[in-house]
């Protein structure tokens, strides 16, 4: 038999999972997953995002994928859409970089400038 507390636990646990089906509001993280992205390692990046978001219980964040974003040489590319903000494009992503993007950008709202397409292009 379930107690009230257990019921609440089931609710929390399952909510994380079904949250995906709620409307597309809040922050969206979009990973480019065309052939170019996948061969450059987009899948581990995507999974790292899913993992991090789950670990930190960020209910307003959805992680999704899209096709080729266009600058294949900079793949894996990740775009972050936050309500009321311009899109931020991160390039040459790795699972390690994901940690910082989640911690600094998604949680604290600080864009990780050095990973963005603007910064990387300048360096080249």
């Amino acid at each position: 038999m379930k107690t009230l507390k257990e019921l609440e636990e089931i609710r929390q646990r399952t909510l994380e999972e079904v949250n995906l089906r709620k409307d597309r509001k809040g922050t969206r993280v979009v990973v480019g997953m065309a052939t170019c992205g996948i061969s450059a390692g987009a899948r581990p990046v995507l999974l790292a995002f899913v993992e991090e978001v789950k670990k930190r219980n960020l209910q307003h964040v959805t992680v999704t994928q899209t096709g080729c974003i266009g600058v294949c040489r900079l793949e894996p590319i990740v775009e972050v859409y936050m309500p009321g903000q311009e899109k931020v494009t991160y390039v040459n992503m790795t699972p390690e970089k994901v940690q910082r993007v989640v911690a600094e950008h998604l949680v604290n709202g600080q864009i990780v400038k050095e990973f963005t397409i603007g910064a990387v292009e300048k360096k080249d």
């Binding site: 609710r11 089906r21 409307d23 969206r28 999704t64 096709g67």
Partner: protein, 598 residues
Amino acid sequence: MELYRSHVLVCGGTGCHSSGSADIIRRFNSELKEHGIEKEVKVVQTGCFGLCEVGPVVIVYPEGAFYSRIKVDDVPEIVAEHLVKGRIVKHLLYHDSIDEDEDIKSLDEIPFYQKQKRVALRNCGVINPENIDEYIAFDGYKALAKVLTEMTPEEVIETLKASGLRGRGGAGFPTGLKWEFTYKANGDKKYVACNADEGDPGAFMDRSILEGDPHSVIEAMTIAGYTVGADQGYIYVRAEYPIAVKRLTIAIAQAREYGLLGKNILGTDFSFDLELRLGAGAFVCGEETALMASVEGYRGEPRPRPPFPATKGLFGKPTLLNNVETYANIPQIILNGPEWLQSIGTEKSKGTKVFALGGKINNTGLVEVPMGTTLREIIYDVGGGIPGGKKFKAAQTGGPSGGCIPAEHLDTPIDYDSLTAIGSMMGSGGLVVMDEDNCMVDIARFFLEFTVDESCGKCPPCRIGTKRMLELLNKIAEGKGEEGDIEKLIELGEGIKMASLCGLGQSAPNPVLSTIRYFRDEYEEHIRDKKCRAGVCQALLQYFILEDKCRSCGLCAKACPANAISGQRKQPYVINQETCVKCGACMEKCPFDAIVKR
């Protein structure tokens, strides 16, 4: 629990199920394995999304991509393109779900969903009905917990009374009052029952709720048991609803396992359990006293009321009987408070109503709108209008107990009382749209045939009276109508309404009376001019071959089973009206559209 990056929701409602959604699910699972992403993507079977017309329906989250008319062979493409590479398969998307820039709209921006408000259907198409955890995630069983730990039965009753909820099974009786009567009734034992008989032709609101969200009904019935003081409930569901029966059975077992049914629910001293009773599908068994006779194992015949079920119901004990959709509203009212329901709807009808849209309409399917929405909004905005640019003629609501509403009332805000005022009724929520190709005499005949078949025969006005009415209608449709027939129909109809024992007979004449009220000219045409303007009543039609279009190919003569067509090469063929059986075979065969009926 695993966290997936993507969910594929496949509709498992009856509509989509019968067009192959089970195979689609199987194919998704095998394709996902093939690509090695079965741990990243979850496939979920849900209840009806409402847009059965474009089924089978598949929605992929988090993008919310709405794929329609999916075939098993489309699955590999969706998996390879969308789920592996993230490229949405545009050509398979539902056409109304993308905007001009080909961006996906969110679900509530799709015209079909825009004017809807989903309360009873809130979980249909969102959760997996066979997984109690998903129901719990969307606040399931929270209302039950609140009632058991924080509310007295009186408080539950006051909440329902204040909310203004009225029964969704047809008559619109105030639900709070009914609960109060049963609560106050004297009895050592009481019962709670759910009417899931849904016998109106074309109606499938209750089926979809049971298929898509069975726990909402179970939760509400348990709340009802606590409130009126019952420890046993019955759900009377028709055996023709195998998917609903299966999901209910699973849901009841899961609820028992979690201690949400059975002894000492949630650790309190309240105990309650549920049983299913399968009905054999007689329309009259939806009537409350007949239903209870049937549950007890007797022949499903109604008896006079009073006594009402609230005082003398199942096994002679006080019994609370509500409809599926009524129950599905209740957990939300407990959680959101009575003011919330009060804020939706019209003065005397609060909340929403589910309608099964059918007939001449683009978006055949299931919709839920606030009370007070006009017929025009339902038919043209939600329903997408009438196919082929045809003209609206009438809408039939309330099934065999209801009536036809003509174009002049398209802008009436729909609620219980406005529909009764214009000669129809809410009924359980069937809504059949008719265009210029429908004959109103024929429609009346269709519904009356249904009631004549379904009349249990216990009381003479219903048994004999409806039969006499049907004979008159047949006579008119066959071109043998006489002056005075319309008046006879009206007189008989009024008499049957007054004298019948139960609601079946008391409402059976409505389809006839309302079509006479609004389309009397069509009846008169049938009688005086022997003409059916819609071209439906076969006996009043003749088939002709247009001389200038006929190319003398002879196909029509070959197709005619009665050898009624003759002709020679280079001369137009002709139909012998004496021997013609009006089967229409010639018209179908003619490659030049040279054959017409009028």
